[in-house]
């Protein structure tokens, strides 16, 4: 037997088992309806879970993008200071982040597709629940045992099949969410450990070296200005482009000289 038929048979056998409860088809109709409502609730919770998971990935991606932008800036600063070693380090870290971002994007797309499918699924289920509610009341009102065998069974197995399908979709979504949560958790740990350079840690070594690279010429410039003032000559500090706000207190150049 082909896969298609085997899959169909098992799927339908499993679906019908969930609703095979009562002797009286009218009771089964009510029971099926209750179960369908429960399923709809579960489905909505599952959609919310997927959305939460997706948002978490979006936040992580934003954080990584900030880190990447910061490293790009640092690489530029390093190049302007002729510190190729620092530039290389910044770009290497940025590369690692880019890889993580690509992974996250793929996960995000998957979750988004899953979410869209589940929203569609719950809309389909909602439409069926509404139709089923009306139909079961009509069937109960006009109930005859002979008719019940076919019409009621058809409605019940139809709704059972829908529930089986929705159940399968939810299980898939739950599995995916669980996988993503595990990966998100691992990524959070990686970021927290600094292995990926969390941009919020502004005191990292790379930045410290770059700051020193900028501070030293500024200090030299200040020194030159002070010397100029003392010897009564004209100041050349502005030509050296020293940023005024970084100017060290008067004792700093002296300290710098002692080193």
């Amino acid at each position: 037997m082909g896969l298609m038929r085997r899959f169909s048979n098992i799927f339908k056998a499993k679906a019908s088992k969930t609703l095979d409860k009562y002797e009286d088809p009218r009771e089964t109709l009510d029971y099926s309806y209750e179960r369908t409502l429960e399923m709809l609730q579960k489905m909505r919770r599952a959609v919310a879970d997927v959305a939460t998971s997706r948002k978490r990935i979006e936040l992580q991606a934003q954080q990584l993008q900030r880190s990447a932008a910061k490293l790009e800036d640092q690489a530029k600063q390093a190049v302007s200071q002729n510190r190729e070693d620092l530039a290389r380090e910044a770009l290497t870290r940025r590369q690692a982040i880019a890889t993580q971002l690509t992974d996250l994007q793929a996960q995000h797309d998957q979750l988004k597709a899953e979410e869209a499918r589940m929203v569609e699924g719950s809309q389909r289920l909602q439409a069926k629940v509404d139709a089923f509610r009306i139909r079961k009341e009509t069937m109960k009102a006009n109930y005859t045992a002979a008719e019940a065998q076919t019409r009621v069974n058809e409605a019940i197995s139809g709704i059972g099949e829908e529930m089986g399908d929705v159940g399968l979709a939810m299980q898939r979504a739950e599995d995916k969410v669980a996988q993503m949560q595990a990966r998100s958790g691992a990524l959070d740990e990686l970021m927290a450990s600094g292995a990926l350079d969390d941009a919020s840690m502004s005191t990292d070594r790379l930045q410290a070296e770059l700051d020193r690279g900028f501070a030293e010429p500024a200090v030299e410039a200040e020194l030159a200005r002070l010397r100029g003032e003392l010897t009564g000559g004209s100041t050349t500090a502005k030509q050296l482009g020293a940023p005024a706000e970084d100017a060290a207190p008067a004792s700093a150049p002296a300290e710098e000289e002692r080193r």
Binding site: G2, L3, R6, Q123, S157
Partner: protein, 92 residues
């Protein structure tokens, strides 16, 4: 003939389309038996495309059982095997 695509909905197909489905199902079965994921995806896509093209999608509020239920478009061999469960791949 009513065919359900898992996660997608139900389609009404002309009875004479079943030969075409059986032919496409052969490819799918071989792919699963071989455990060939790429071939499985291609075969499944072909089977589902054939259902969508030849069939008419039934409205969401239509209630009734299907003659055939097919896996969802992004199903993997692993997932299909899970549904098949104890039945295994080679029916005893």
């Amino acid at each position: 003939m009513i065919v359900r695509i898992s996660g997608e909905g139900q389609f009404d197909l002309p009875e004479d389309h079943v030969d075409e489905l059986n032919r496409l199902d052969d490819d799918l079965t071989k792919a699963v038996d071989a455990g060939d994921e790429a071939r499985f995806t291609t075969a499944l896509e072909a089977l589902l495309a054939s259902v969508r093209t030849a069939g008419q999608e039934l409205p969401a509020d239509w209630i009734g059982p299907s003659d055939l239920v097919l896996p969802s478009p992004d199903a993997t061999i692993h997932e299909v095997r899970e549904v098949l469960g104890d039945e295994g791949l080679i029916p005893g």
